[in-house]
Subunit: 270 residues, 3 copies
């Protein structure tokens, strides 16, 4: 990561803190006390408490849309106060700061090949470290110092081992693809783990998609390709196969959630 | 619109994306990747999915309080991926970017006489345009380029036709005014379509206000003019007649919602 | 308060406006129209309508983490439109702007000995003052002018009398401490009024903590000191005694809320 010349890079925040308390604001106060020029962007603070996988996926969905030099802070941290380590991942384009529990990894890999550092140099932490709020005491101040141009190697010790988080993988067979729902968004859209590249192995117009035992229309190009209320499959804004209902809520109306199996099959009649 | 000399104008965002996913943060990442000096302000992201009218009213309520040169982005977009056009409205004071479904019009008219442009110059879009997330791929990057001083005429083609959204109108007769509730806010205040100027046609102290078949106190000058728990009518912060309960929730306690009829009548005994 | 040399100090906002309407965004528009360089940070807008005590505690929890020169605006204002006065508190480190109903006091005292001013100089207000939204018409513009270096004495008249808000106090006896829950956070952690300094009067390893009639483990050093699902007491991120359940929700699972009695007793066997 190269710090931007005017030392005003973007720092994103993603937590499970919610927005009803002042915790997120406190992290921003800590950042701005170190670098008044930092540009803070909230990704989301609505991760259900301690759902590391959902946090990892939300962060991964966002990173490619931020400018080079962005520093991403993710604090979903059930292990705070234990011996879980504070971590920094660095790629060519971005830095990632948070607990070593897997929350950072999928996002860092999305945009590069990360180097990892265990945060050790307490000079870049707050003077007093609580056992319950490392977002405030370690991760926010480290991100702020990185935004001023401090080098990752000054903040921590490079390490080759860090916690990975295994995203569920798809199975590809000659007949098609077996995947699953990995994320449900605010609209009830069912985001799957079936990448566009997997679909591209089955070219031609004749694919069928089902979720659970239910067939849906598509893959189509856009919601507008079907009537309102119709369940459809398309490559959505995440760049993966998504099951949606046009102007409806697929999760609710189909009764589906994370883990629901999604199948893409080659149409035999074709 | 004149871009501010330091190229750091305000860009507001209003969507129905909620705050549980990273979608709003992603739009901010796109903006800051184009103009790192943009000042982003959230209006609200809690518009119920695809309620264009509520979005239009929320945007209209805000525009007069932003500085000249502000760029407003509104993405409540049930027609994304169809042939609905991406639109830019420009007044002397501000630009408005979003889908051509009416969401921008009431706000633009509140502060001027808008010129309209169909967004066509893909040079100012993201390189790849999804069929599902034009907020990220078209509206955010266009707003960011406008904030750098790009002229509306460079971004789109001027048009005289765009989608209007008819706000409900009041009926004024010699006996008084018949209007309705058009927006319910977080406090349960019932915002009506009865403007202060309509009330001014009935000068003097002797007006009566009712909602549905229920009379309320007022019009009064402030909540404090009545006891706690009392239903009242006043010109509220929107500059229109509003039905409220002092330190209470009028929508809940009176059982009223958008569309409820509100009547102002001249008191015959006066 | 000394204004920062580049006139871009932090302005925090804390309200009971929620995030579903544009009210908070409108306050930001007013601020940025006066000082385009202000750095706006949301503390929270989820205070339940008119809960002044909760607002005061949330603000108090945050102030020490913001840089010198920060201006804090708090608008939880059941008396708007009555004769309650608009207030400015000033300490060496920060300014506080809001209604004179106690919401500012605990926070100002946390970081200094405040001087108080009644806001009177309408030159620093919006031209028209509504009777219902002083956050927009008085508090936001005053905060913005302060951020430009306007002196408190120019904005208001110094006063020695302002409304205080009595936080519940602990009782300390030779056998221990009797306190209570004063705030429940998003995780269900039960924040008490028992300060670390009170606990320090009872040194040694042998203290017992109970909430209601239920004993909990601790005080411990961190959540990680107990098994998942175990109720514990620790000095949390607020710097006070807190009752929590490791990776659980203490408020829900113990059935406790604000006002629940919390007792720390010296263990006689020790």
């Amino acid at each position: 990561m190269t710090s931007s010349p005017d030392q005003s890079p973007v720092i994103t925040l993603l937590t499970d803190f919610g927005i009803d308390d002042a915790y997120v604001g406190i992290m921003k106060g800590v950042v701005l006390g170190i670098n008044a020029r930092a540009r803070l962007v909230d990704l989301t603070h609505s991760i259900p408490p301690q759902e590391v996988m959902r946090a990892a996926l939300a962060l991964r969905s966002a990173v490619e849309f931020f400018p080079p030099g962005t520093i991403h802070v993710a604090v979903v941290d059930p292990g705070v106060g234990s011996d879980r380590r504070p971590l920094l991942l660095r790629t060519e384009r971005a830095c990632f700061v948070g607990p070593d529990n897997g929350v950072l990894v999928a996002a860092a890999r999305r945009i590069g090949k990360p180097k990892a550092y265990v945060l050790e140099n307490s000079r870049y932490f707050r003077p007093t470290i609580s056992q319950t709020f490392h977002g405030r005491d370690i991760f926010a101040p480290v991100a702020a110092h990185l935004s001023l141009g401090v080098e990752p190697a000054d903040v921590g010790r490079e390490t080759s081992s860090f916690v990975h988080l295994d995203l569920p993988e798809v199975t590809i067979v000659p007949e098609g693809i077996q995947g699953e729902v990995i994320y449900v968004d605010r609209f009830g859209n069912l985001i799957t783990n079936i990448e566009r590249t997997a679909l591209d192995r089955f070219p031609g117009p004749s694919l069928s998609v089902s979720i659970g035992s239910m067939a849906v229309t598509g893959p189509v190009q856009s919601y507008a390709a079907v009537d309102e209320g119709t369940a459809l499959a398309l490559i959505g804004s995440w760049g993966v196969l998504e099951i949606a209902i046009r102007n409806g809520d697929a999760a609710r109306d189909l009764g589906m959630k994370v883990g629901a199996p999604v199948t893409v099959t080659r149409d035999l009649q074709a």
